[in-house]
């Protein structure tokens, strides 16, 4: 099955949620994690993931630090900040409100 596009506006939320669960992760792990947990439904393109991570760095939602992988390779690890956690809560509640609203519209139809 071909994986779906990430719905617009939800990429930050997905990354934030993934980092909230997994602690420090590098880009490949984040993409893999999203794909795995969504049962291969959601696939994050590299072309979206890395610019998004940079924008989140600017916003101060995540911080990055270079560390070493298990295979002893240098990799950039991303970690959630307090501001990022707050942003995640805001985005999740907004998303839930919207999903509930959409659901109501569909059901009444």
């Amino acid at each position: 099955m071909h994986p779906d596009e990430i719905p617009p506006g939800t990429l930050y939320m997905l990354i934030l949620r993934t980092l909230a669960r997994g602690g420090e992760m590098h880009g490949y792990e984040i993409a893999g994690s999203i794909k795995k947990i969504s049962d291969d439904v959601l696939q994050v393109e590299e072309g979206s993931l890395y610019p998004a991570l940079q924008r989140m760095l600017v916003k101060g939602w995540v911080v990055a630090e270079w560390g070493t992988t298990e295979g002893n390779r240098r990799a950039r690890y991303y970690k959630l900040t307090a501001a990022g956690r707050k942003q995640l809560e805001a985005e999740v509640s907004q998303f839930e409100r919207m999903v509930a609203a959409i659901a109501r519209v569909i059901q009444t139809a």
């Binding site: 072309g47 610019p51 600017v58 101060g60 939602w61 390779r73 990799a75 950039r76 307090a82």
Partner: protein, 928 residues
């Protein structure tokens, strides 16, 4: 917000990234590489063959370059990168056409430099605050454009600005709105200074009498020693003075021994208690700043002949106040006015009429942070004219560069069309062309700063007359550099935006289709308009220069009424050497005798003031048998006290009656000589000889018998018509009831100037004169020695410099207009080469081709003249007050300017026209 949130921390993060942006790309690439490798490994592990896994990983990660760009985008520094790229491109473009670049930069350097130079002066003269603590809290009591003293407060009822010492004390002690009120003389006075225990003669300095709290009010600390204190300003205190830093450096070699040393000031021994801070030139920006500050308590011993200090009815000081923080100036103003009125009403002998005047008194409290007397009043007009001229030059420069850019833009049309056709965004093209303009403008601005620093020095000469001290720093300041930057950027946008817009608006298909041959041309009209504007502006400048030159020539060759050649003027003040009135007759007799005995001196004389000395005494005059005018200001005349050979010494002819001579001694019959203007004014159609005049009040109308009429001579101002004037023999003194008139008369009998008519070069007599004076009394201070013709010419320095500057700018404008016109004509010929070729193939004569090109080149010039002539006439009327003997409408000047412009235009068009005429029709047709 902690660390990660907030605008400020976000800015800090962005800045951090910017500082490490070299690392950024490398780190991004490394991250991508790792990602790709992991992906490749994963694919291989899933059973994909190694080679395919490699390419699939590459493909799926996408364009690494774009990814890096987009990631970098997140940090918001791309605009800066684009500017850097555009600038680099612009520099490359400019290097490709060095001729254009050099002309453009030079043009801009002159335009921006002229404006920056003027701004340097405007900033220093008008905008810079005094170097004191919290200048914003300083307020002047009254608008201090008025000088110098009065005994009648009715004189200052419309602007109460002069204060007597008792009134000052009253205000100081009863206005809680001010933390301090300081009083000081309206202008520094002559001070003859000698360091005790040193054999050198006394030297002339300027001293200012100030209240003891003067330095405290301004918030100044001494550079060395201490400032004056309230305790120094007591009648019983030991005499103390503060020296200016400048005098300390220049005259005493920064000798620390000066502090605590005793100096003799006008014969009075006083201790120098300290040196004022560097950069403090007094309460006003002026060309004769005080060298010494002495307390008010020393006013009586320093000027024993005219003591003002404790006189209730002498208004002679300015007062400056430091407002307490938070006090509204309006409240302080109202309170001070109330105090002034109460104090005046409480004076002895106030009449009902006086009371009425007191109730109409107007008092203001203007800010005094930039100094109390404003140079703007004295020098504003010259600066304003300079500002207008330099702005005009910059406009012409802008028009010229815009024109060159237009021509270039049209030449690059094909290139631009190709880029537009390939999808370049219009905005991007405009941005790049404007960047090119800005780079050019900045380069011009840098060169302009160099021009400005040379120029502002020259202009200082214009603002301050020759020889005087200039308390202005013409070196680079942050504000001036900022101004140059802003004006450069504004210039760049102005001259590059229109050409960029026109060039980028070209429809891409058109030039491509016509292969650079299309006859329609969007930039032809703006180019012509620019040349019209340039021609008009150049004409205005040329006419202005012509009028100023004409005016200067008239000034220099006018009938002065005296002979400046072969004469020496020596300024000397016995008043500063401690002479009292009773010792003057012997001194004058001795000076007259000894100076006339110097070999080669044909005639020497003494006088209160000589022509164009810069100051004169004026009084209402009363004529026996003539009813005085109701308003005494209508009967004003200037006057002078002179010795017997005065008229001969300055070369002023006596046209009727006799000159003053050696028989007119102090004890002889009192006589006077009047000038022609005086005779015309007071004795229309009558013979003044034998009539009598006098001063102070009508009962003195018979004091002096008029024995002669002297030719009108320019005493007060060489640029204005002669004023009524009368001359009395030195020390023929009357007794007046009015104490002030009496004091003035005595003061006026202290000479200030010696005039010598000599054989040969006047400068050869300087030593002999100095020696003679020193022999008479070593305490006589020679303030200045100058050749009479130098003095006269010096009074035209500012007119001369103004004429020269305007001429330089006028020629510059003419050259720029010529270059602009050449550009347009040359471009037109290039564009119409094939058309001309066809015409010639069809039998057109070369001469008619030249005529055609000339005609179309002259068209914008003629239009420019039509705009420029009325503008130049208007400009002439606007500067009429600066002109001498020239009418605003001068057909010769106007005709000359038009001819110069026309000649420049023909010269600029003739080269392209000749090129057009030399077109080989066969070759042009072949290339079709």
């Amino acid at each position: 917000m902690s660390g990660s949130g907030g605008l400020f921390s976000e800015l800090a993060r962005r800045l951090g990234m910017f500082l490490h942006r070299e690392k950024f790309d490398g780190e991004m690439d490394e991250e991508m590489r790792l990602h790709r490798e992991w992906k490749e490994r994963e694919l291989r592990e899933a059973g994909v063959p190694p080679e395919e896994a490699h390419y699939r990983a590459l493909r799926e990660t996408g364009n690494a370059l774009r990814l890096r760009e987009e990631s970098r985008d997140a940090w918001g520094w791309n605009w800066l990168e684009h500017i850097a790229q555009d600038s680099k491109l612009a520099l490359r473009q400019l290097r490709k056409s060095p001729g254009f670049t050099i002309v453009a930069i030079l043009t801009l350097a002159l335009g921006i430099g002229a404006n920056t130079a003027v701004f340097t002066l405007v900033h220093a003269v008008l905008l810079k605050p005094l170097p004191v603590k919290d200048p914003g809290q300083l307020y002047s009591l009254g608008d201090t454009s008025m000088c110098c003293d009065t005994t009648d407060f009715a004189d200052i009822r419309n602007n109460f600005v002069l204060f007597s010492y008792p009134l000052y004390k009253q205000l100081r002690d009863n206005t809680p709105e001010f933390s301090d009120l300081a009083a000081f003389q309206t202008a520094p006075a002559n001070l003859s200074v000698r360091r005790s225990g040193v054999s050198a003669p006394a030297e002339p300095f300027y001293g200012e009498i100030v209240s003891g709290n003067y330095f405290a009010t301004l918030g100044l600390e001494a550079y060395a020693g201490r400032t004056l204190l309230a305790e120094d300003d007591q009648p019983t205190a030991a005499p103390a003075a503060v020296m200016s830093y400048r005098a300390w450096q220049l005259h005493y070699g920064a000798d620390p021994g000066v502090i605590g040393a005793t100096f003799t000031l006008n014969g009075l021994p006083a201790t120098i208690v300290g040196v004022a801070p560097p950069g403090f030139y007094g309460d006003s920006l002026r060309s004769d700043p005080p060298d010494f500050w002495v307390p008010l308590a020393l006013e009586p011993p320093l000027s024993p002949d005219n003591v003002l200090l404790n006189q209730t009815n002498h208004y002679w000081m300015y007062v400056i106040g430091r407002l307490k923080p938070g006090v509204p100036p309006a409240r302080a103003q109202a309170h001070v006015l109330l105090e002034i009125r109460q104090w005046l009403t409480s004076l002895v002998g106030v009449s009902d009429f006086d009371r009425q005047i007191i109730s109409t008194i107007v008092f203001t409290l203007p800010p005094a942070g930039s100094g109390v007397t404003r140079l703007r009043d004295n020098y504003g007009e010259g600066l304003r004219l300079l500002m207008i001229i330099s702005a005009l030059v910059l406009l012409i420069a802008c028009a010229n560069i815009a024109n060159l850019l237009l021509a270039r833009g049209t030449a690059n049309r094909l290139q631009i069309a190709v880029r537009v056709a390939l999808g370049a965004a219009r905005g991007r093209l405009i941005r790049q062309m404007v960047t090119e303009g800005l780079v050019l403008a900045l380069l011009g601005g840098i060169a302009g700063i160099a021009v400005a620093f040379a120029g502002s020095r020259a202009m200082l000469l214009l603002t301050f007359p020759s020889g005087s001290y200039v308390p202005i720093d013409a070196s680079p300041s942050l504000q001036v550099l900022g101004f140059a930057l802003v004006i450069s950027l504004a210039t760049g946008v102005i001259f590059s935006f229109a050409p960029a817009w026109i060039a980028s608006n070209a429809h891409p298909a058109e030039p491509l289709r016509g292969a650079g041959r299309s006859t329609r041309d969007a930039s032809a009209l703006p180019q012509k308009l620019l040349v019209i504007a340039q021609a008009g502006l150049s004409l205005v400048l040329l006419v202005g220069a012509g009028l100023l030159i004409e005016s200067l020539r008239n000034l220099e060759h006018q009938k002065f009424g005296f002979e400046p050649e072969g004469r020496l003027i020596v300024r000397v003040r016995p008043a500063s050497a401690g002479y009292t009135l009773d010792r003057l007759p012997a001194l004058y007799r001795q000076m007259d005798e000894r100076l006339n005995q110097i070999p080669g001196v044909r005639s020497a004389s003494l006088a209160l003031t000589s022509p164009l000395a810069g100051w004169n005494f004026q009084t209402p005059v009363f004529i026996e048998g003539r009813v005085p005018s109701a308003n005494p200001s209508e009967d004003m005349s200037f006057y002078d006290f002179v010795s017997s050979r005065f008229f001969e010494s300055i070369g002023n002819r006596v046209v009727r009656g006799r000159a003053l001579d050696e028989h007119d001694t102090p004890t002889a019959h009192h006589v006077a000589v009047v000038n022609e203007t005086f005779a015309r004014k007071f004795f229309p159609d009558q013979d003044p000889i034998g009539r009598h005049l006098g001063i102070s009040d009508p009962s003195h109308g018979g004091d002096y018998e008029i024995v002669g009429v002297a030719e009108d001579a320019k005493f007060t101002n060489a640029k204005k018509p002669a004023v009524p004037m009368f001359f009395m023999p030195l020390l023929q003194i009357e007794t007046y009831k009015d104490a002030d008139d009496q004091a003035y008369q005595i003061w006026a009998n202290y000479i200030d100037s010696i005039q010598l008519r000599v054989l040969g070069r006047p400068e050869n007599y300087e030593r002999a004169v100095q020696q003679t004076l020193a022999d008479i009394d070593p305490n006589l201070t020679v303030r200045k020695m100058i050749k009479f013709d130098d003095l006269v010419n010096g009074s035209f320095n500012s007119s001369r410099l103004m004429a020269q500057l305007t001429t330089v700018y006028g020629i510059l404008a003419l050259v720029l207009a010529g270059i602009g016109l050449y550009g347009v004509a040359a471009y037109m010929v290039t564009r119409r080469t094939s058309e001309i070729g066809i015409r010639m193939a069809l039998g057109a004569q070369r001469r008619s081709v030249v005529g055609m090109v000339l005609r179309s080149a002259m068209q914008p010039i003629v239009l420019g003249l039509m705009v420029g002539v009325p503008a130049a006439l208007a400009g002439g009327y606007a500067m009429a007050s600066q002109l001498f003997g020239v009418k605003a409408y001068d057909p010769l000047v106007l005709g000359g300017a038009v001819a110069a412009l026309a000649a420049a235009a023909v010269l600029a068009a003739i080269l392209p026209a000749r090129r057009a005429a030399s077109i080989d029709p066969m070759r042009t047709l072949r290339t079709e």
